[in-house]
């Protein structure tokens, strides 16, 4: 959980992010509403290092972990270009036009980013405005104070964690 200052209130993380079920449900509702009114075909929400938060729509053929890493990278490169050219602004967007569909990638506050895939028949200006509104709403959900459930207050980092990870890695590896 992250409070209004961006600090974790439940688990102290220097650079990390922890989203509760309540926060993700709020975000999911916002994403579902965006899907409906754009209308969009697919939405993928990730954190700014590309880790999956949630999706809407059916793109089962797409590997969301790979797409997530590329969304984060695309946005990071675009932000850096804007910074170097002195044109940086918050809620940055990237538009990619295709033959049948368009894609907008947008920041959603400091911690999240999302990709929206929609038909080329949908006016870009309409989609852009709706996505910008949703981005601000989602960004606000992340920084609002939320009471964690009892389960979420249990630290997932207890026990001999390095040993447990070592064992789990051993099970994956084949020489």
């Amino acid at each position: 959980m992250v409070d209004q200052t961006g600090e974790s209130t439940k688990i102290r993380l220097r650079g990390g992010l922890s989203l509760t079920v309540v926060q993700i449900n709020q975000i999911q509702k916002s994403i579902n509403r965006l899907m409906e009114i754009v209308p969009a075909q697919y939405i993928l929400l990730v954190d700014t290092s590309g880790q999956l938060v949630t999706t809407a729509g059916d793109k089962s053929m797409i590997d969301s972990s790979i797409l997530g890493s590329l969304i984060a990278a695309d946005l990071a490169a675009s932000q850096e270009i804007a910074r170097l050219t002195g044109e940086f602004q918050e809620y940055q967007m990237i538009l990619r036009e295709g033959d049948r569909t368009n894609i907008i990638i947008s920041e959603a506050g400091k911690h999240l980013a999302f990709l929206v895939l929609f038909s080329r028949e949908t006016p870009i200006g309409w989609a852009r405005k709706l996505i910008q509104n949703a981005a601000k709403e989602i960004g606000a959900f992340v920084v609002q104070p939320v009471v964690a459930t009892q389960e979420e207050q249990i630290s997932p980092t207890e026990g001999n964690l390095p040993g447990l990870f070592n064992d789990a890695l051993d099970q994956l590896w084949k020489d």
Partner: protein
């Protein structure tokens, strides 16, 4: 690190850093080849026409449940060529741990030092304090006839305080040890932060 309580996932990001052609991509290729395909993503490489890393390579591993959460480990490499300075900094953003892959060849001393200092500079600019961020140093290409010994390379880089591992990544030697060492470092670091 990102914890998604709805999906019950804990996500960690590890970046392989180092000079051009030191073996960063080779590490990921070896991991990709030796992990059960159902527990990893495809290996994504954003390359130039000359088959050199342009932006990054990416591979995600999924471990079995730990403390009720599924760990997902994202491995990235940076482009080693000096020209891609800005891209390297971007890939480091949000890293939970770094593997520095040094080329042990005696003709690559300056490249290793430049890359090490470059990494330190970027970590500071990203508020990733290298005194606390887990770093593993891998001395790769130990099979080269002109390979330098670890102690010499440690002195040159002034990296004695970090764990180092000898490797020949193109045959997989030292690759898994490096992966395990950095993950151990990352989770121990998280544990110390959250206790």
């Amino acid at each position: 690190m990102f914890i998604n309580w709805q999906l019950r996932q804990i996500n960690l990001k590890v970046v392989y850093y180092g000079p051009a052609l030191s073996g960063k991509t080779t590490n990921l290729e070896q991991i990709h080849a030796r992990i059960d395909p159902t527990r990893r993503s495809d290996l994504v490489s954003l390359k130039t026409y000359e088959d050199r890393t342009l932006y990054f390579d990416f591979l995600q591993l999924e471990l079995g449940k730990i403390n009720g959460l599924t760990p997902k480990i994202q491995l990235y490499t940076v482009p080693g060529q000096a020209f891609y300075e800005a891209s390297r900094r971007l890939v480091l953003r949000g890293a939970d741990g770094v593997v520095f892959v040094a080329d042990s060849g005696s003709n690559r001393i300056n490249d290793n030092v430049d890359s090490w200092q470059n990494m330190k500079k970027h970590l500071i600019s990203l508020d990733l304090d290298s005194d606390h961020l887990p770093v593993i140093v891998q001395f790769n290409k130990q099979d080269l006839p002109n390979a330098l010994p670890a102690a010499f390379l440690q002195n040159i880089l002034n990296c004695q305080k970090y764990k180092s591992i000898l490797s020949v990544a193109n045959i997989g030697q030292g690759v898994f040890d490096t992966l395990k060492a950095i993950i151990s470092g990352v989770v121990a670091n998280i544990q110390s932060e959250t206790m």
